[in-house]
Symmetry: C2
């Protein structure tokens, strides 16, 4: 056990108390009236980062500030590691579903319950404390470090890319480490192998000039709700393959990922329970993890038309609306997919009687880790040391657009090394962080930097 590891274990109770202080600040980026709390969280974090030996600056943006920490003492011969995290949290509502108050951290069954405990204050602060442990136990850090903490991850990171582009030279680095994800199961250290991208649309179908009486007019005019349903039904065949022409052209064969996926322990029944669905059902010819990680989807996110209250009303709606999004996989180009999507909707829409409009809401690139190389080798050793077993490489069905942004703007590979656990309620009531896993994460974070040190 290294001096750094000893320092971490001995100081863990204090780290925990400090994290509690961080969690008590209700830094909800979505709420305009939490702006003072956002500033307080940024200032608190800046103070703690200074305590860990970093030079810290707080950068105002059009939204919430970015906290930047730097340590360049390892010299030009050592690599520079950029660590990313965020200090903003999701809204806590509905408050009545929390067992203990969301901004009063409470320990139960070895877990810290609080909004932001795992997403992402706990994981961000883990890196801060690992840096402190390295600095105090060894007198210096093993590599140059840049720590970027943003306050807008939960509201779309609108100001992060402009910040990265503006600060590109100062943020230049060899590796990027992001801890804002989870492990596939307790005790199984997990490296993110891929993220899905996104192309999100709204479809509006306009028919009659106003809601009509479905008796007096039904049969004589097209019903926009029916038309919308036919458009949506046209997106998949009977086997749940997407039917949008060209949709799969850039998708790599799932076979390529099968070996990697086979390494990941996966309990299908547990996932089914987690969803509350009767059964897991999806695209024919693919296993569940393939469907989630390496296959794109077309999902309806919302539907609205006509009368939706209690009872019945015989209305023929003037308008019908759907929100539809595609989860994308590498190497699908979101803009190209958006073009194909629009062309498909145009093709299947009636030629007269209704107007069908597709609005592009937003897009995000999918990402695939370039596994291997010094960063991934170091991470594997660090995680094995902390958890007593080598990591697995797991895909993620969701999207973290900033991962691609870091690679694109800074030209450095990104490592996704997260310490959440299944069922952690990241965006739900009773969010929690497992204390034992967090402690192993502290060791892994410190060890990763040591493993990346030159020679």
């Amino acid at each position: 056990m290294s001096r750094t590891d000893t320092y971490i274990d001995e100081n863990l109770p204090r780290f925990r108390e400090e994290l509690f202080d961080f969690l008590r600040i209700p830094s909800v980026s979505a709420n305009a009236d939490r702006r003072p709390d956002m500033q307080r969280a940024a200032d608190w974090l800046a103070h703690e980062m200074r305590g860990a030996g970093l030079e810290v600056s707080v950068h105002a943006t059009a939204g919430h500030p970015v906290v930047l920490g730097e340590w360049r003492g390892a010299g030009a011969g050592a690599p520079t590691v950029l660590i990313y995290g965020h200090y903003d949290v999701q809204p806590a509502e509905p408050l009545e579903l929390w067992t203990s108050p969301p901004f009063e951290p409470t320990v139960r069954d070895g877990r810290i319950y609080a909004r932001g405990s795992v997403d992402d204050k706990g994981q961000l602060y883990m890196h801060v404390k690992a840096l402190e442990a390295l600095a105090r136990s060894e007198g210096k850090l093993p590599v140059n470090v840049v720590l970027v903490a943003e306050g807008e991850e939960e509201v779309g990171s609108d100001n992060l890319v402009p910040f990265l582009e503006q600060m590109k030279n100062r943020l230049a680095c060899d590796y990027v480490v992001v801890s804002d994800s989870g492990m596939v199961a307790p005790g199984i250290p997990t490296i993110g192998a891929s993220l899905r991208g996104l192309a999100y649309f709204q479809i509006d179908v306009d028919g009659p000039g106003k809601d009509l009486h479905s008796g007096s007019y039904g049969g004589a005019v097209l019903n926009p709700a029916t038309v919308l349903c036919r458009i949506i039904a046209s997106f998949h065949d009977a086997d749940w393959h997407a039917t949008i022409a060209g949709f799969y052209d850039q998708v790599r064969p799932a076979e390529e990922a099968r070996d990697q996926i086979a390494q990941v322990p996966f309990d299908e029944e547990k996932l089914r329970e987690e969803t509350g669905a009767q059964a897991l059902v999806g695209e024919k010819g693919y296993a569940t993890l393939e469907r989630l990680w390496v296959r794109p989807t077309v999902e309806v996110n919302g539907l609205l038309s006509g009368y939706t209250g209690e009872g019945s009303k015989t209305v023929l709606p003037a308008h019908a609306m759907a929100k539809v999004s595609c989860r994308l996989v590498p190497d699908q180009d979101p803009q190209k997919i958006a073009d194909l999507f629009e062309a498909h909707v145009r093709r299947v829409s009636p030629k007269e009687g209704v107007t069908v409009k597709v609005t592009r809401m937003h897009t995000g690139l999918a990402w695939r880790a370039q596994l291997g190389g010094p960063l991934y080798e170091a991470a594997a050793r660090a995680l094995e040391a902390a958890f007593g077993r080598p990591p697995v490489y797991a895909g993620e069905g969701g999207s973290i657009p900033i991962v691609s942004d870091f690679e694109r703007v800074l030209g450095a590979p990104v490592l996704l090394m997260g310490f959440g656990l299944p069922g952690e309620n990241a965006h739900a009531p009773d969010e929690w962080l497992d204390i034992d896993t967090w402690q192993r994460g502290l060791h892994a974070s410190a060890r990763l930097l040591q493993e990346l040190a030159p020679g």
Copy 2:
């Protein structure tokens, strides 16, 4: 010109003032706080019916009262004619869209603007005044008369059928006359040839136990909104024929109605303008009036699932709901159609991963006039005398379930003889009644009873 006709024309200004008093009472049956106004309207009407020579009784129901007027002076050798109307009105909201206040009748361009002017106070009062004209000008009515005015037509007539069944013997009659509909065009007297029936359903699709993140879970579970859209899309083929097995089994060939429909002046472009739709589009192989009058439909009345607010939210909805109704034609049995509908939904629903539930909301029989016989012959003569041309026989796409109820409970044929006009805004702001048409309706109503007199 008969004495009765002269009486009508001479007294028209007074009739109009009286109708204004009736229209000033805001008898909105849907609003609980209008209950005193409902009673006031019933009492006002009872008083006026007495003034026309009827014996009047006001009958309390579980809802609003039924006003019953009777005159049996024509003796056993004369037929008994039951006239039906309703004194309740639709809510007037949105008030800001009215040019003049809804309960302050105002004359503009030969029309009376007020809530209830055409639906149905104006048409009901027309019969009351025709009875007065006959009684005062001839000293007696030409036939026995029963007048039934209910106060719940706009809220489903829940208490009318129980009233009819309970009073069956007292209400025994040879003919039923209903004036609660319209004419196909100004100057074209119109007899209702058919009404469509209804079978109304709610479809609920339940998938995951809660809304899920569409990234983390999309692809692994069925999306209930997509499933719902596929069910709805399965209701029609590419030509907008319904595909529910057995749906058309009881439907008579449209050819049977073509001659009758050909008599009806119909301006397709005017109907299109009325709907505000780009184009009239419907079931292939049928003309617009056939689609509206003699072909059944399957219409979506409402859709709701997932996120429907502004912007985007990447939710995979737990639940999706649709309101769907079939307009039925004679001789479709609503219960049988409901069985076929449910069987269809079951057949096209996924076998696992979601639960699909169909709820039957309500049903109503379609109706077809048994044209011909003394009632229709008398009506044709009366309308030709009042309008200077013979009537046309027009279908109606909507449903008036009480029409079938009258025929079923009382065993007498029903005549639909209405004096509304296209664009009358019956359930909308700026409802109006055309004064010239109303005057002709007064003559037609009186003449109808004279034509039905024996010998």
